[in-house]
C-alpha cells in the first residue's frame, strides 16, 4: 500500500504546515512561559497546531468517496465569528467588568481615548501605501484599537480573508504593551514632563443614578450618530448596565466570569481555524504583523502629543503628565499600569494610577467608537 494512503498527514505535510505548527508552539510558549494574554494565545496556539495537520477532521474535508465531512471548527466559525456573535458576547462580559466611575474623576481625560486612536488611521494609510486595498487597510489599522473583539468584527466585515493574522497581531501586541509603549513615550517626552504630578479627586464618588444612566445615554447617542457602531457599543453598555443596575448581581458575576471564560475558550480556538498554512504563510501576513507594531507606536504617540498640546493651554500646576495620554488605548488596565510604573520610576512619590485608569477607560470607549466609524465610513468610500 502507498505511503500516501497509510500516513497521509505525513505524506502531505509541507514546510508551510511545519511553520504554522511552530507558530502554534511559539504562541503556547508565550502564553505559558511569558504570561502574554494566555487566555487567548494558548487556545489560538493550540488551534494553529490542530488545523495544520493535513486532513485534520477539525476542518471540513472531503472523504475519498467525495462526501463533505463538516469540521467542528468550521461550524464554530460560521456560528460565532461570521455572525460576530462571539466578539459581541465578549463585549457583554467586558462591559460587566468595566467600572466607568474613574472617568468621572477627571472627565477631560476621556479625550485621550480619541487622540490615541491616531495609529489606526496612520496605519491604514501605510497599509494602502504598501498595496493593500482600502477595506483591507482599514482592517489592518484597527489592530491599533488594541481591542481584540473590535478587530475581529471590523476585519470580519471588511476583509474576512485577513481575519487570522489581524487577530493574532491584535492580541499579541496587546500583550506587548509593556514593551512597545515605554520607548515611544521616552522618545517624545522630557524627564521633567514625565515627572509632572496630576491633581485628581480620588475620593470623588459617583451616584448610582449616574452610573445607571450612563450606559443607556451612550447607547442611544451612539445609535443616533452612528448606527453601525450600535452592536459594538450596545453590547458593551448592556454588560455595564447589568453591572451597575444593582439588581442583577448574579447575572453580572456570570457575565464577568462564566460567559467571559466560555466565549474566550471558543473564540480563541475558532480564530485559529483561519490560521491554515495556505492562508497564513505568506508575505501579506508578515506585512500585517509589521504594520500592527506601527499602529501601537502611533497610538501611543498620538496620546502623548495630544497631552503636550493640551499643556500649552494649561497653567503650571494643572498640567497633564503626557505619559497619561498614552493610556488612551484600549489595553486595559495594562497600559495604565505601565504608565503608573513609569511615573514611579521617574519620581517614587508620583502616583499616576487614577488619571491613567481614567484615560485607559476612555480608550476602551474610543476604540469601539472608531471601530463603528470605520465600519460606517469605509463602505461609503471603497
Amino acid at each position: 500500500m502507498d505511503f500516501e494512503v497509510l500516513v497521509p498527514a505525513i505524506a502531505f505535510m509541507t514546510w508551510k504546515h511545519l511553520v504554522m505548527i511552530a507558530v502554534g508552539l511559539t504562541l503556547i510558549w508565550l502564553a505559558i512561559k511569558k504570561g502574554y494574554e494566555p487566555t487567548l494565545l494558548l487556545p489560538i496556539g493550540f488551534g494553529a497546531i490542530l488545523v495544520n495537520i493535513p486532513f485534520t477532521a477539525a476542518l471540513t474535508q472531503t472523504d475519498p468517496a467525495g462526501n463533505v465531512v463538516v469540521g467542528a471548527l468550521d461550524v464554530l466559525r460560521n456560528a460565532g465569528i461570521s455572525t460576530e456573535l462571539f466578539p459581541l458576547l465578549i463585549f457583554v462580559a467586558i462591559g460587566a467588568m468595566i467600572d466607568f466611575s474613574p472617568m468621572f474623576q477627571k472627565p477631560t481625560l476621556l479625550l485621550f481615548g480619541a487622540a490615541a486612536q491616531l495609529g489606526i488611521f496612520i496605519t491604514m494609510l501605510l497599509a494602502v501605501a504598501v498595496g493593500f486595498s482600502l477595506p483591507e487597510a482599514a482592517s489592518i489599522g484597527i489592530i491599533g484599537a488594541a481591542d481584540g473583539p473590535t478587530s475581529i468584527i471590523v476585519s470580519q466585515q471588511l476583509a474576512p480573508q485577513l481575519l487570522g493574522p489581524i487577530t493574532v497581531a491584535a492580541y499579541s501586541y496587546m500583550s506587548l504593551v509593556p514593551l512597545i509603549q515605554p520607548p515611544v513615550i521616552r522618545a517624545l517626552t522630557s524627564k521633567k514632563e514625565r515627572m509632572i504630578r496630576m491633581k485628581t479627586d480620588a475620593n470623588k464618588k459617583v451616584s448610582r443614578t449616574t452610573l445607571i444612566l450612563f450606559p443607556i445615554i451612550i447607547t442611544v447617542l451612539a445609535g443616533i450618530i452612528a448606527p453601525s457602531s450600535l452592536a459594538l457599543i450596545g453590547f458593551l453598555m448592556f454588560g455595564n448596565l447589568i453591572r451597575e443596575c444593582g439588581v442583577l448581581n448574579s447575572l453580572s458575576q456570570t457575565a464577568q466570569k462564566e460567559l467571559a471564560n466560555l466565549v474566550t475558550i471558543l473564540l480563541g480556538i475558532t480564530i485559529a481555524s483561519t490560521m491554515t498554512a495556505n492562508e497564513f504563510v505568506n508575505v501579506e501576513t508578515l506585512m500585517i504583523l509589521g504594520l500592527g507594531v506601527f499602529a501601537f507606536v502611533f497610538d501611543t504617540a498620538g496620546g502623548v502629543l495630544f497631552a503636550k498640546f493640551l499643556n500649552l493651554f494649561y497653567k503650571e500646576g494643572n498640567k497633564i503628565n503626557p505619559m497619561v495620554g498614552a493610556c488612551g488605548i484600549s489595553a486595559f488596565p495594562m497600559s495604565a499600569r505601565v504608565i503608573h510604573g513609569m511615573g514611579l520610576k521617574e519620581d517614587p512619590n508620583n502616583y499616576l494610577l487614577m488619571p491613567a485608569i481614567s484615560s485607559n477607560v476612555g480608550g476602551q470607549i474610543g476604540s469601539v467608537i472608531v471601530g463603528g466609524l470605520i465600519l460606517m465610513l469605509v463602505p461609503l468610500f471603497a
Binding site: F104, T108, L125, L134, V206, L213, A222, I365
Partner: protein
C-alpha cells in the same frame, strides 16, 4: 509594490478623507460623552446614603 504610485492612488486619497472624518468623528463623540458625563454628574450628584 510601488509605494509612490500607491500614495497617488484614489484609495490613498480616500484613506486621507476617512482619516480626517474618522478622527474628527471620534473627537466629536468623545466631546459629547464628556459633556454628558459632566451634565449627568451635576444633575445627579452623589449623596451619602442615610443610615437606617
Amino acid at each position: 509594490m510601488n509605494i509612490l504610485e500607491n500614495i497617488q492612488s484614489a484609495d490613498f486619497q480616500k484613506g486621507l478623507e476617512i482619516t480626517g472624518l474618522g478622527l474628527a468623528g471620534v473627537f466629536i463623540f468623545m466631546a459629547v460623552f464628556l459633556a454628558i458625563i459632566v451634565g449627568v454628574d451635576k444633575l445627579f450628584p452623589y449623596k451619602p446614603e442615610k443610615a437606617a
